[in-house]
């Protein structure tokens, strides 16, 4: 298994807190396993867009990983509603449907990035570092001996 240097919050050195939103339990577990490889902490989970909005308000995560095709409310609409209320929200869409119009719609409505399923851990790792920007820091000691 590939090793990743832990990504921490720059302000307090604590693990990055994630909200994982997907109607598939398997997908949520799989994403959580990947995030743990990055030193992340699962702050909450939701199985649809409506639950995602409530869960965001409750846990105020550093990053949301949001599926698109979900029952009750789809991910793009949920992302828009979260960003309207919390403009600082960092939402990364994670979906198997990665055509141009979908990506553009997600970005126009507030998502910061898009990752296509099946998720490659090395791709998600780079996206998370990019989305966190200066608010994220790769742990230096671990980074010395780790890839990438």
């Amino acid at each position: 298994m590939e090793q990743f240097a832990p990504v921490r919050r720059s302000k307090d050195g604590q693990p990055v807190r994630y909200l994982v939103v997907d109607d598939s339990v398997f997908a949520r577990k799989n994403l959580t396993r990947i995030l743990e490889q990055f030193g992340g902490l699962l702050a909450g989970e939701a199985g649809d867009g409506v639950a995602a909005i409530a869960e965001y308000e409750r846990v105020r995560p550093d990053i949301v990983l949001m599926d698109i095709t979900m029952p009750r409310m789809e991910g793009i609409e949920a992302a828009e509603k979260i960003v309207q209320q919390f403009p600082e929200a960092r939402i990364v869409m994670v979906s198997s449907v990665g055509y141009q119009e979908n990506i553009v719609a997600a970005l126009q409505r507030g998502a910061r990035h898009f990752v296509q399923k099946p998720v490659k851990p090395e791709v998600l790792y780079e996206v998370i570092k990019y989305v966190l920007g200066e608010d994220g820091a790769v742990a230096a000691a671990a980074a010395a001996g780790a890839q990438p």
Binding site: N30, S96, G98
Partner: protein
């Protein structure tokens, strides 16, 4: 069913299964389904609507499903585990999503519906315009069957007919 619909699904299945299982995959057999669909084991069904409509079913025997789920979860799972069924649905979702991405870039617009477990022993039969094709993907864990019954909607058929007449 036209090759332009089939090829993206085969490519997506090949790529998603190979990455998810981290195993070599090969297309073992291809057949036309003339009889009514009969479930082989655990089956995940995805409906498509839009320019193309129909359904795709992923079907595996229970033992293969357990092996696949255990490998993807990196933990042994009992056959009764809900995650086994969830894994099959998510695999179907990823294959269809990736195929749709390709088809959308080719000008087909449609909506993919969340995968559902197909629990009935059999489904509807094929017809002239919804002929079913079954691909069998062989892995060392067992075979994965992808049963597709898709057709152009009337609007799409008309558009394609007009384009052909115009010599496009």
């Amino acid at each position: 069913m036209k090759m332009e619909l089939i090829q993206p699904l085969i490519n997506a299945a090949d790529a998603v299964l190979a990455q998810g299982l981290n195993l070599p995959i090969s297309v073992g057999s291809i057949s036309m389904e003339e009889e009514t669909y009969r479930r082989k084991g655990l089956a995940a069904l995805v409906w498509l609507t839009g320019d193309i409509e129909g359904r795709v079913i992923f079907d595996v025997d229970p033992q293969t499903a357990v092996k696949i789920a255990s490998r993807m979860a990196n933990a042994e799972m009992p056959e009764s585990d809900m995650l086994v069924r969830e894994t099959l649905c998510e695999l179907a979702n990823q294959v269809i999503g990736n195929a749709i991405t390709t088809l959308n870039d080719q000008g087909f617009h449609f909506r993919v519906h969340p995968p559902v477990l197909h629990t009935a022993e059999q489904g509807t039969g094929s017809s002239e315009d919804t002929e079913a094709i079954v691909f069998c993907f062989d892995t060392e864990m067992g075979s994965i069957f992808m049963n597709m019954a898709l057709r152009y909607t009337m609007k799409t058929a008309e558009k394609k007919g007009q384009a052909a007449k115009a010599g496009k």
